[in-house]
């Protein structure tokens, strides 16, 4: 039995090693798990075609736009404590205060976050996460990863995603955290995110030469932008 327990991690380690590549292009792109990532990417694309996109479109067709907007507002409002905590950790107290104000205003006046009254009061939404907090602290992104159902990520951002569960209100309430309610929340969240990304998905499909590499590039550029490392245009490549 003990041998069996030892064999499990050894098999997993072997699979991970087998999924590694020594191809220079992959290593240069900091994507040593490219073969495994490509397999997960194909799985995600198939799952999107078969289930996720049809469910998202059915939701879009069945639920009127104002109601969908309310759901999106409420989901964003639930995430404000995560943003607040990360802004504090990034040393941005002004933005953290604005985020706390948004959360209070939208929860109380905006009926639990269904209405974004804070934006109407000119308190703009900030967005950040623990992956970006680590980036602000100087932690490198690490190798690129594609997560099942969740899509593009990196070692740093995957760890950040795990940490971000803790300041989220759904984690505070045991009745939500420990029951099927958390899966209801996650399903609604996934459908809403899928609809937000619909135009991006279509654009990727139209313009991609290699959809896997394109998504990797888009993800990285977006994260660099969010870290504000790309704002001054100093790191752009030479053209000659």
């Amino acid at each position: 039995m003990r041998q069996l327990r030892l064999a499990g991690p050894a098999v997993l380690a072997g699979l991970a090693l087998a999924a590694c590549t020594t191809r220079p292009e992959s290593l240069q792109a900091n994507d040593p798990f490219e073969p495994l990532n490509r397999a997960v990417f194909s799985f995600n694309a198939a799952a999107d075609d078969a289930v996720i996109a049809p469910v998202a479109y059915a939701y879009r067709d069945a639920v009127p736009s104002p109601a969908r907007k309310g759901v999106r507002n409420a989901l964003r409002n639930l995430n404000e404590p995560v943003v607040f905590a990360n802004l504090l950790l990034q040393g941005r107290p002004g933005d953290a205060f604005a985020t706390a104000s948004r959360f209070g205003l939208n929860t109380i006046v905006g009926v639990g976050g269904l209405f974004d009254v804070a934006s109407e009061a000119n308190i703009a939404r900030r967005d950040t996460d623990f992956g970006l907090t680590l980036g602000h602290w100087g932690v490198e992104s690490g190798p690129y990863m594609v997560l099942p159902f969740l899509g593009p990520s990196s070692v740093r951002d995957t760890f950040g995603r795990f940490v971000d569960r803790y300041p989220h209100p759904t984690y505070w309430v045991e009745d939500v955290r420990e029951t099927e309610a958390i899966w209801v929340y996650r399903s609604i969240f996934a459908i809403d995110v899928r609809l937000q990304l619909d135009e991006t998905f279509q654009s990727l499909e139209r313009s991609a030469i290699d959809p896997y590499v394109q998504l990797r590039s888009v993800y990285r550029q977006n994260r660099a932008n969010a870290l504000e490392t790309a704002q001054d245009f100093d790191d752009l490549p030479d053209f000659d």
């Binding site: 030469i209 990797r216 590039s217 550029q221 752009l236």
Partner: protein, 206 residues
């Protein structure tokens, strides 16, 4: 001797004058880059709008669009850029074939992507000078009524034919940079064979 001195002096003055006019100050060039983007990018958007409104047939639109793209973008420079290190040492015939196919692919992509902005207004909001002859022009594409405003940055570089766009950034993503990653990945997977990228492009255009 005096005449020689006069000629030399005249030559020097002429050379200085040429330098002064040929290399305007970065501020002047940045404003030229802004004007260039405002004029040429808006013309491309207008051409697509005319097609959408039925003022132009598809053939005329495509012809107009291609002419406009050549005025706006430095497609040969972009083609060399997307090949990355594989441009050096590749077979010239393969490179030429790649250039032809990539140009067709790129123009199709520009046409489709810029088509989303048809009927909208481009407003230049400022610029950054990276180095002499290398500028970032910031702009916002404003939707007419229901559309959202989209920030678009243009990388404009000086060339023998004047200023040309070499890359565009929409919502944080640079188009040519992304295409280079895709092309070099395909060529890398094919052990440096440029024709693998040509085949992939042809396949995507079918």
């Amino acid at each position: 001797m005096l005449q020689l001195f006069r000629l030399s002096a005249t030559g020097l003055v002429a050379a200085f004058a040429l330098l002064a006019f040929a290399q305007p100050s970065p501020a002047q060039s940045a404003s030229e880059a802004e004007g260039f983007v405002q004029r040429e990018a808006q013309e491309v958007i207008n051409a697509l709008q005319a097609y959408n409104e039925g003022e132009l047939d598809e053939e005329t639109l495509k012809r107009n669009f291609r002419e406009r793209v050549d005025l706006l973008a430095d497609v040969p420079r972009i083609t060399n850029f997307v090949l990355g290190r594989y441009r050096r040492g590749a077979d010239e015939a393969e490179l030429e074939e790649f250039r032809t196919v990539f140009r067709e692919f790129a123009i199709n992509v520009y046409e489709r992507e810029l088509g989303n902005y048809a009927g909208q207004t481009l407003e230049v909001t400022g610029s950054v000078t990276r180095s002499p002859g290398d500028f970032i022009v910031r702009s916002t594409v404003r939707g007419n009524g229901n559309g959202e405003n989209v920030p678009v940055n243009w990388r404009v570089m000086s060339s023998d034919d004047g200023m040309k766009v070499v890359d565009a950034e929409v919502m944080g993503v640079w188009l040519a940079q992304t295409q280079r990653e895709e092309i070099t990945s395909i060529i890398g997977n094919a052990r440096g064979d440029v024709s693998a990228a040509t085949r992939a492009l042809r396949q995507r255009m079918q």
